[in-house]
């Protein structure tokens, strides 16, 4: 191989993860921030489940239901997070947007090995923010791309 054709590749190891932290009742969850396309108030998003924003239609995603959390729609901090993985676009109603955070990879822990089934794919890991346990969710699961949707309460006692 000639020197001219040789490309010097520098691999930068990403030491931090950027996450959007949201709250459903007592549950704090996070998703990678690169999928966030917007955060709207319920008034801006409208009453219908589906939201069209900048020419893109975001389907209603009942993440609260999947987490087994009751969404308090009267909460003034409620927001609609527009999220996309490039192929699927979802509008996720959350009780509160806590904020965008940057955490060290070392501060992100895998789900304890006691959890042995599909939840290992749904939840990428956990971290601690403001003394709260935060579940880091898989974007594909958030967008409903990982199979059937079943509520938490129906699962844990089965």
């Amino acid at each position: 191989m000639s020197l001219r054709g040789h490309h010097k590749v520098t691999t930068a190891v990403v030491q931090t993860a950027r996450l959007l932290v949201v709250r459903f009742g007592r549950q704090w969850c996070a998703v990678p921030s690169q999928g966030v396309r917007g955060v709207l108030t319920p008034q801006e998003a409208g009453r219908a489940g589906r939201v069209t924003f900048v020419g893109v239609t975001y389907d209603d995603v009942d993440l609260a239901g999947r987490l087994g959390a009751a969404l308090d729609v009267s909460n003034p901090d409620m927001r609609v997070v527009l999220y996309s993985n490039g192929q699927t676009h979802g509008a996720v109603r959350v009780e509160e947007v806590i904020g965008m955070i940057e955490v060290e990879r070392t501060e992100c822990r895998p789900l304890p090995s006691h959890f042995q089934q599909e939840e290992r794919i749904w939840i990428s890991g956990t971290t601690i923010y403001r003394d709260q346990l935060v579940l880091i969710l898989s974007p594909d699961w958030v967008l409903g791309e990982l199979g059937e949707i079943v509520g938490y309460h129906a699962l844990s006692s089965s």
Binding site: Q27, W28, G68, H114, F115, Q117, E119, S156, S158
Partner: protein
Amino acid sequence: MLRAARQQDQTVITKRAWNVVVFSVGGKKLAARTEDVGGVGPWIDPVPVPSRTPFVGAMLKREKEVMPVYDLATRLSREPEGDQLLCLVARHVDGPMAICIDGVIPSLHNVDIAQIAPSKRLDLETLGSFTDEGQEIDIVALQRLGRSRQDNLRS
């Protein structure tokens, strides 16, 4: 040689009895070997986690430690009793695991091995059972709690 024999005798003597912690879940008395218990403290409301693993559907944070919760009460079809519930930390093979128990302070017992009989129940991982004040108390195998249930589900 004599010294070795004496040590062997002592080992046999120490193994003749088990130290167990007796606690209760929904009024049902259970026991666990003391070495399988990481501690007992006040119960903290756990965070639900979407899960398909039977009886493992929440986590809690105690100071800097985060651990999964094993819902032993639901497995036994009971409800924890008491105003101030307690958290028993199990030394599970996969790592510490929290179990909600009744708000009755657990007690320590020394049980002669001769008093421990194989447990009759097949629905819970146990190391055996013993009788105390006319009541049969199962010794829960905290280290492998939930394992046989998951193995059954897989097979």
